[in-house]
């Protein structure tokens, strides 16, 4: 490094040599084409260590998932071609509707909580006061922890008989629900834990946006006597729209892939009351030996995620105010 820096300063950007394109050691007799070919070879060599694994473990499996979705397959005996019948069965199967319904329930419950909470935190922590960096750090803390650890912690907090939440509720004379042991409350329990864990994530994304809003606009409006709420509605939120849009999209994409917390908090139960799409893919493959059906279901999931991504790409142009 030291050597590099010294050499770098010796040849200043203004020196005539620097405006020429990057040319490796030039051997006499080497043609321009040979040099280009050599450079291409070197570039491919630098790409290979990541390109080959990405092809082998992302691109190829993606096609194989699509292929497997057209077969009956139990991972052991050879695949049997069945065309679109897996999809047909999925579309008529009540269970598909149920797991997508639970997944939507999860998204519809978590997104508003983290969005409203994260926006409030971002607005509050965008003000200047002592200790705000510490507070930002604390709110973000759950984001970096393992979902499995957090899920077990929340099972303990929400334990129906001896958990702290129901103990506190009982002190106020409230008979707490059965939380993750009760089919009605299993999904709300997962949503509560997820909102706690993701709040700081949404806060950080929105804070990044708030910090790009010039303060003079806000100050001018304040001097003109515009109230806090009007300023939020007419200045802050419109200028924050790129980040708001991004938060909604990324929460939808992440939300449809939900698995860890469901697996560790409820295992999809009780009575399948919290089973989500990915859990169903897992069960179909490793419990019921229906890998073909599981592949078809994961292709449906992929379709949903791709649709959301397309909305993001198109919407960013149309919907968002990049003032």
């Amino acid at each position: 490094m030291n050597r590099g820096t010294t050499v770098g300063t010796a040849v200043s950007p203004a020196s005539p040599g620097s405006s020429k394109p990057l040319t490796p050691e030039r051997k006499p007799g080497q043609t321009a084409r040979a040099r280009r070919n050599k450079a291409t070879m070197i570039a491919y060599l630098f790409l290979a260590p990541s390109a080959i694994p990405l092809l082998a473990f992302v691109v190829v499996p993606m096609f194989r998932a699509a292929w497997a979705s057209l077969h009956t397959w139990n991972l052991i005996s050879p695949m049997k071609w069945t065309g679109l019948s897996n999809y047909q069965e999925l579309f008529t199967d009540q269970d598909t509707l149920v797991v997508f319904g639970h997944t939507l329930y999860y998204v519809a419950g978590t997104l508003p909580l983290t969005f409203v909470g994260g926006l409030a935190l971002a607005l509050g922590l965008n003000r200047a006061f002592r200790g705000r960096n510490l507070l930002r750090g604390v709110y973000f803390l759950p984001v970096v922890t393992s979902w499995i650890a957090v899920a077990i912690v929340w099972r303990w907090l929400l334990n129906p008989s001896v958990g702290i939440v129901n103990t506190v509720l009982a002190n106020f004379g409230i008979d707490g629900p059965g939380w993750w042991t009760d089919p009605t409350w299993s999904m709300p329990s997962i949503i509560l834990a997820s909102a706690w864990k993701d709040l700081g994530y949404v806060m950080v994304l929105l804070l990044a946006g708030l910090q790009t809003i010039p303060t003079d606009v806000q100050e001018a409006a304040t001097l003109d006597g515009v109230g806090w709420f009007s300023r939020l509605r007419t200045i802050t939120l419109p200028l924050l729209s790129p980040q708001i849009f991004f938060v909604v999209i990324i929460s939808l994409i992440n939300g449809f892939q939900v698995f860890d917390q469901v697996y560790a908090m409820t295992g999809g139960g009780p009575n399948g009351s919290s089973e989500v799409v990915v859990e169903r893919v897992y069960d179909l493959t490793f419990r019921y030996g229906q890998a073909g059906m599981a592949s078809a279901l994961s292709m449906l999931l992929f379709g949903v995620i791709m649709t959301i991504t397309m909305i993001q790409i198109r919407g960013e142009r149309k919907w968002v105010n990049y003032a």
Partner: protein, 271 residues
């Protein structure tokens, strides 16, 4: 209301919220030192008779220590490998013109949209035919490359002045040498940010290890934690001890690298 008073109230409300946010962690630690919590004892805010019994039970009756070692080893390996493969590709994308460059970069970006959840079945089948089910290599292989890492490192590398490379090359350095001694030292912040995320995502990974690992000796921490639930159904002190052991390394990393982590999230939306 005067402005200073309003700010004071705001700070007080936000502090109360922050205390509520950390409470689950505090309660976890308290429970882990309350011997018999959930069975014979009820944890209290100030533990009456703190003991490390739960930690002793955890490490003496399970392969938890081994799982800690597995997670540390795998996370370190994934970090070193991903940073290396990503930086090499980023160098190619930022320093060369070659046929198919745009298409290749688009393909890298496209792979970021495909979640692991969709690839579960074929990946498992691939590992099965390679004989890698229930092996470290089976866990590791799908995380050798990271398109996100390539993207992040490339963004940093295009800002490194080309004059630096040229000077080194006039001096007789080849591409590998220029990469290692000129470009890499100039993208240390991006390398640190990405390295931290690679470590965190390996440490917290659950779905793929769950699918590919079987034996207790190979299990990573999240898998070991999940199976504690079956083994210690109502012994909450032991389960909370397990959670504490799994959370503490991330907490330590977070305290030291908070700046990088928050900037990384704010800049790219990864978590």
């Amino acid at each position: 209301m005067p402005k200073s008073k309003r700010t004071w109230i705001l700070a007080a409300v936000l502090t109360a919220g922050a205390i509520a946010m950390v409470f689950p962690f505090v309660w976890t630690v308290i429970t882990s030192v309350t011997s018999g919590a959930g069975l014979s004892a009820t944890p209290t805010l100030i533990p009456e008779d703190p003991s490390l019994d739960a930690y002793r039970t955890l490490f003496s009756t399970t392969t938890f220590a081994r799982s800690v070692a597995n997670s540390v080893g795998l996370a370190l390996a994934v970090t070193v490998i991903q940073v290396t493969t990503s930086a090499l590709a980023a160098y190619a994308f930022s320093r060369f013109e070659f046929p198919g460059k745009r298409a290749a970069f688009a393909l890298y970006l496209a792979t970021m949209m495909i979640p692991m959840q969709v690839l579960l079945v074929p990946l498992f089948d691939q590992m099965k035919s390679l004989g890698l089910v229930d092996s470290y290599l089976g866990v590791l292989l799908p995380s050798v490359a990271s398109a996100f890492g390539v993207f992040l490192m490339r963004q940093a590398m295009v800002t490194v002045p080309r004059e630096l490379d040229e000077a080194a090359m006039l001096d007789g350095a080849g591409h590998l040498r220029t990469f290692a001694s000129i470009v890499m030292p100039n993208v240390r912040p991006a390398m640190a940010t990405f390295g931290i995320f690679a470590f965190m995502s390996s440490w917290n990974a659950f779905l793929w290890p769950l699918v590919i690992l079987r034996s207790d000796e190979l299990k990573t921490l999240p898998l070991a934690l999940a199976s504690l639930q079956g083994q210690f159904t109502t012994q909450w002190d032991v389960m909370m001890a397990g959670s504490v052991v799994s959370i503490i390394p991330m907490l330590a990393l977070y305290i030291f690298a908070q700046k990088y982590i928050i900037q990384g999230v704010a800049g790219s939306g990864i978590k």
